[in-house]
């Protein structure tokens, strides 16, 4: 396939490739530079595998000083850099560029400090999300954000993407669970934001960095907050005759003041695909299935389970099971967790979308998706983080049929437009990357985007870090810096003289 239009490769850089590779070998001696086609093959795409591109060179530094020297070197020579963690991005955030150094942070894989007194873990950015939990679980602690790729995705990548997971309605996203970072700016400067204390001094640069998709700086250390594992967790598996009824049940649960640890919805095609795949014991005669998980002290969980059951009954639930053991609870989740591969079994390819909508708009969006499904002649299965309105429509297609990928992409773009139209957003947790870059104007006007790019200008004025991602057009900073002066009379809606 053709793929998205990326910034034009800089010919001068391409010509100097050998010299750049040699210089990289000086900065990162030993095994830290991959330059042959064979070695670089593993890095030519991330989790968005439809797009592939060989990088200029792959560099795997081991120390902050090396990262700083690499960036300073590239900054001085105007060489582009694409940072990469574990490469699990679903939006092409770590897709290489032909003329860019691919800066891979996977060798930063050590946990530097575990501090139970301050409930903090200091980790290098290449440590996996689950690796943090593994390091502290023997003491009963865990790290709350749990993206589905948590076994592989890196904590540095989590910062770049502000990763979520099924538990974020109650426990927050990455942004709410990190205390500080160390990062290297494009010019090689090393700065620290936050620490083990709460709130940064000055501007909330940590807030800006989280979810900045590798365009502002390269994270070299992360301090996260860890939490004590809830005493217990129980789940309900509830079937409904319609998505509308399931949606009302979700609203009523929250309206009753209950914030479940997790609340997931699946539609009929997703239920059937999952049940066929893992035999989770899901009811097949329902239109929508809800998994509601309550966690906390046993007294609280038992109390709330009963309340949720009453609410479900009042909304016309046709089937309802309550887990009585961790084993049973995990079986409720088995189908949901296998939903993506399950859909992968019934279709040669699928395309996963990631819009978020106000929950009350669910019926309208589901019916809109049914219409689009007919229009494009492609099937669509839905899994949905029901608590926070994050939709994951899976569009089924066959890449071997000419034109079908393009059709799936157009279908996906229409779904996201619909999400924005009802007050939602393009991406809830997968990021903009290259995938949704060109849809940004659906949500933001030029002034909105320009102010975002100006933030980029404060960090990386030459647009060398991860260009071609997030913004459809990266205006030059000098151009954006010009002021448009609207000279006029002093506006005096209410003039008061002292």
């Amino acid at each position: 396939m053709s793929g998205p239009l990326m910034p034009k490769a800089d010919q001068a850089t391409l010509k100097r490739r050998e010299e750049i590779v040699a210089d990289m070998r000086i900065i990162v001696p030993g095994e830290g530079v991959a330059a042959s086609e064979n070695e670089m093959r593993a890095f030519e795409s991330d989790g968005l595998t439809a797009y592939r591109q060989m990088p200029l060179v792959v560099v795997l530094p081991e120390t902050v000083a090396q990262v700083s020297r690499i960036l300073k070197y590239c900054h001085e020579r105007k060489i582009r850099v694409v940072p990469r963690g574990s490469g699990t991005s679903l939006s092409g955030g770590a897709m290489p560029l032909q003329d860019a150094v691919l800066l891979v942070m996977s060798r930063f894989n050590r946990i530097l400090e575990i501090d139970y007194g301050n409930r903090a873990v200091v980790a290098q950015p290449g440590v996996t999300n689950l690796g943090i939990t593994h390091a502290v679980e023997h003491e009963g602690f865990y790290y709350a954000p749990d993206p589905s790729s948590q076994i592989a995705c890196s904590i540095g990548g989590n910062v770049a993407e502000n990763s979520g997971g099924v538990h974020c309605l109650k426990y927050g996203l990455t942004a709410n669970n990190i205390l500080g970072i160390e990062m290297v700016l494009m010019d090689g400067e090393v700065v620290r934001l936050g620490g083990k204390h709460l709130d940064a001094e000055g501007y909330d640069l940590l807030g800006l960095m989280t979810g900045s998709e590798g365009l502002l700086g390269v994270v070299t250390e992360v301090t996260v907050r860890i939490l004590k594992k809830p005493e217990t967790a129980r789940a309900l598996l509830i079937g409904f005759p319609s998505s509308e009824a399931a949606g009302r049940c979700v609203a009523d649960i929250i309206g009753a003041g209950i914030i479940p640890g997790g609340m997931e919805m699946m539609d009929r095609p997703a239920i059937h695909a999952a049940e066929d795949f893992v035999q989770a014991g899901y009811p097949l005669d329902v239109e929508a299935l809800l998994i509601v998980e309550l966690d906390g002290p046993a007294a609280e969980v038992d109390h709330l389970i009963a309340r949720v059951e009453t609410i479900a009954d009042a909304n016309g639930a046709t089937s309802s099971r309550i887990s009585n053991s961790d084993e049973e609870r995990m079986s409720f989740w088995a189908g949901r967790k296998a939903a993506f591969p399950a859909v992968g079994r019934i279709s040669p390819d699928y395309y996963c979308m990631d819009g978020t909508i106000p929950r009350k708009e669910l019926p309208r969006v589901l019916s809109g998706m049914r219409d689009l499904s007919e229009k494009y002649g492609l099937r669509c299965a839905n899994v949905f983080h029901a608590g926070d309105g994050n939709l994951h429509p899976l569009i089924l297609y066959d890449a071997n049929k000419p034109g079908e990928l393009e059709k799936a992409e157009a279908f996906g773009a229409d779904i996201l437009r619909l999400c924005v139209e009802v007050g939602g957003v393009l991406t809830g947790e997968h990021g903009v990357g290259v995938e949704k870059r060109d849809l940004m104007p659906e949500m933001f006007n030029e002034e909105d985007l320009n102010q975002q790019i100006r933030v980029k200008c404060a960090f990386d004025p030459n647009h060398l870090l991860n260009p071609g991602k997030m913004f459809p057009q990266l205006h030059r900073c000098a151009e954006l810096g010009r002021m448009h002066i609207h000279r006029g009379q002093m506006p005096f809606p209410e003039l008061e003289r002292f």
């Binding site: 204390h197 002290p297 007294a299 109390h303 007050g423 404060a458 000279r487």
Partner: protein, 406 residues
């Protein structure tokens, strides 16, 4: 200090845009205020023109089942909290009220100021600050350009999070005109466990153990002997008290209080105070009641790693006379100075004990002019902050000098 000559009180975001465009063209600096309830914090801003947002008021959207509320920037925080309470909801970050501490009225302040100062309260250690609950904004930059960021949904990673970027910026980057916050159910009830007689170090250990348990403590404070008499109208006297708050549904609160009583047994005798007294106590802890004494004596608000708070205070006291109490498991230290702020000594010690920051939230005007009110940053970070400021407000017309002297 000269008073502003002109006050603009726009009634719509379009009028805000008009004022800022004019000010940008004329390079006429503006002091930006809501109710002015936190005007005494920061370096004094001396401008000829005042931008008063208090007429830009009103809740524009509230959908309890969607856990979302939008309001214009000048909407009184009190009005929003009252509306939420009617629906058994709240701003979970428990924004503090600076009024009493700054010798102003209580119950003042706007939702715009809440974000601009990144307010929070005792629940900060569990639920976050304003920055953690803001979902989206509309704002006008110092360039005189209107922009929006974020949206009205919780899960959103579309573009840079400029809403968070404006949290704690004290009106120096852009003027926010509309805000959307995540709101959450209010706890049905609460109780507080009170342990008597711990010194600061023992209290830090006790609070750390409580926070590391599964009892889900939502407030952990230590009130030393020097301040204890000022809480609850003198109902707590004598020795220091270490207080731990549990919130939630009734059966859960009882269960977790029992759990905590057992866990805290080694630290001495404990008593449990009920909902009414508990609410009153945590409000006083939040609003810095012991130091709301009507004087301008310097007050520091220090954020530091929880286990280091008492060590830093102990070292600081060898150099200067200060009264102190601790919130956030020991990580938020309120310090009342007997005389001078001793900024350099304090900040050196904070750095020595692992880092953090100190804000001089109250001091006489000449002291605030001469002392860096906000924590000075290392060179590279300060330069980055300046570049960010230039990108939002190149003519330096928004609250010039409020956060830093340049």
């Amino acid at each position: 200090m000269t008073l502003p000559l002109t006050a603009f009180t726009p009634r719509s975001s379009d009028e805000v845009l008009d004022v800022i465009r004019w000010a940008a063209a004329e390079e006429a600096p503006l002091e930006v205020v809501g109710h002015g309830s936190k005007q005494g914090i920061g370096r004094p801003v001396q401008t000829e023109h005042l931008l008063n947002l208090s007429s830009l008021s009103g809740v524009t959207l509230y959908e309890p089942e969607e856990l979302v509320l939008s309001a214009k920037a000048g909407t009184p925080l009190a009005e929003i909290e009252k509306l939420l309470a009617e629906h058994h909801q709240q701003l979970a970050f428990e924004p503090m009220d600076y009024g009493p501490l700054l010798a102003g009225e209580s119950g003042q302040g706007t939702i715009g100021g809440t974000l601009a100062a990144n307010l929070s309260g005792p629940r900060r250690l569990k639920a976050g600050a304003a920055r953690d609950h803001i979902l989206g904004i509309h704002a006008v930059s110092g360039r005189g350009e209107a922009f929006k960021s974020g949206g009205r949904v919780v899960k959103n990673v579309t573009g840079y999070d400029l809403s968070k970027g404006l949290a704690g910026s004290w009106g120096t980057l852009a003027v926010v005109t509309d805000l959307t916050f995540k709101v959450l159910p209010a706890a049905e009830t609460e109780k507080t466990l009170v342990i008597a007689g711990l010194d600061d170090g023992e209290a830090a250990a006790a609070m750390s153990e409580a926070m590391g348990s599964s009892s889900e403590v939502s407030g952990a404070a230590h009130l030393p002997e020097g301040v204890i008499g000022r809480f609850l109208d003198g109902a707590l006297t004598g020795t220091a008290r270490t207080v731990l708050r549990i919130e939630g549904v009734g059966p859960s609160v009882d269960y977790r209080i029992d759990l905590l009583v057992r866990l805290m047994k080694p630290y001495g005798t404990a008593e449990v105070i009920d909902e009414t007294a508990s609410r009153a106590l945590w409000e006083e802890i939040r609003d810095c009641k012991p130091f709301a004494d009507g004087t301008p004596a310097p007050i520091w608000r220090v954020s530091i790693a929880p286990m280091q708070g008492h060590r830093m205070v102990d070292a600081f006291r060898r150099a200067a006379g200060a009264n102190a109490y601790y919130d956030w498991q020991g990580g938020l230290v309120w310090l009342r100075m007997e005389a001078y702020p001793e900024a350099e000594v304090l900040r050196k010690l904070i750095a020595h004990f692992g880092g953090g920051h100190a804000t001089l939230v109250r001091a006489p005007l000449p002291v605030r002019t001469a002392t860096p009110v906000f924590q000075p940053q290392p060179e590279a970070l300060a330069a980055l902050s300046m570049r960010l400021k230039e990108q939002f407000d190149p003519k330096k017309i928004l609250n010039p000098g409020r956060m830093a002297a340049h």
